[in-house]
Amino acid sequence: MRGHIVKCLLSSMTAVYRVMLLAYPSEFRRRFYNDMIQVFIDDARETTDARGLRGLLGMTVRVGIDFIASTMRERIAVMKRATQQSMVKWLMLSGVLVSCGMIFASIALYRPYLAMDQSMVQAIEPVAVLVLYGIIATWIPMDGGRWQRTLLSAPLNLGIVTGMLGMAHIFSGNFVDFGRWNGTMTLSVMAISFMLWGVAGYSSARGQSFPITGVIAGAWSGMVCSVIVVTSGLALELFIHPPAENYVVTWAEFKRSGWSDVHAFRIANTLESGFEQLFLSPIIGAVFGGVAGLFTRQRPYDQSTNLEGRRVANPSSR
């Protein structure tokens, strides 16, 4: 009789546990559902055999606490991954789409541009690179693995910082005349950006045995930066505050170009600057990131998140 009651109790508890497992993220559940049920049944059987119903009650409490803690941990891990993933993709793809939109709009609003020599090439070049950026941003693996950690930490943050710096430089250059300090300002912004892309490469390559990590991190930092700079630069120079036409006609580039349409030249010049920024930044970032990565000499870095997904103090990093 007692054996029958225990059997019924165990099968009811297992049925409840099966339902409880629905609280775990689907990917986790797909992978471990059957194993977890099996472990639960084994544990319940052995506990009942060894310590009777009182032991089973204790086990139920223990499994209940474990269930609450582990579902929260797995859910938070999934949410964190999804947030990071959507943030990065949103940042890159929205920058790419807005930039492409501005290029098309500027040409649509001034059709004579298309009549100028080589004008189509000037427009297609930045769009082609932007589309490539969009593909790369979509392709980046966001599986919580090594590459995600590499690209989402320092390189992304430093890309945003250098992008903001570049944006501030473009805006200040358009509204404030620094006179003879203009060149120094530009060189300083470039030097700081290159150095920070190197830092991105260094911090990512630290403690890793794969030397190309620094190269990829530096390039990624350069890409994030150039999307911010190009998007803000196109908005400023094509729509918000384009350079005055009587000023553009004094430019040596305009005189050399052979173009007669000042407005069209202004658009082409902005597109060319954007293309150069988009094309060169990842290359420079890769070089600086790669060189900085070589200086790491395989030093271990502070892994502040442990395998259970919690932040821990790392005594070895102090």
Binding site: N34, V39, E46, G144, F210, P300, Y301, Q303, G309, P315
Partner: protein, 119 residues
């Protein structure tokens, strides 16, 4: 994708440390690991199924353990169960952690925080 170095794994949490310890001598299935951990810690650490498989999931991703394709003795084997075994990376990680814990214990010993060993 490269495997994390043992230093990157440090410090291991007690759960991860004892799971690796349970797999050092032989491959085990989930409940086998749970029982071994409880035995090794004299019942101080009892892993629930959620914590056990959460840890195993992250350890599989980090390359510390892997699923075993081979099955043990068919008489004692249950085909429904998945067996796990420690990888070379996992061995390096647990060895590094053991060294770290041992040097921490030695430091505590020097400060007379641990009871004197009896002859």
């Amino acid at each position: 994708m490269t495997k994390p170095s043992p230093q990157e794994m440090q410090p291991l949490t007690p759960a991860v440390f004892y799971i690796l310890l349970a797999l050092v001598d032989k491959e085990r299935h989930g409940y086998g690991i749970m029982r071994e951990v409880s035995l090794e810690t004299a019942g101080q650490l009892k892993l629930g199924p959620g914590t056990l498989y959460g840890c195993l999931n992250r350890m599989l991703t980090a390359g510390l353990v892997e699923e075993s394709g081979e099955r043990p003795d068919p008489i004692i084997d249950d085909q429904r169960r998945r067996y796990y075994r420690i990888t070379r990376s996992g061995r390096r990680a647990i060895r590094a952690e053991a060294v770290r814990l041992s040097s921490a214990a030695a430091a505590a010993q020097r400060k007379r925080l641990l009871p004197e060993a009896r002859a």
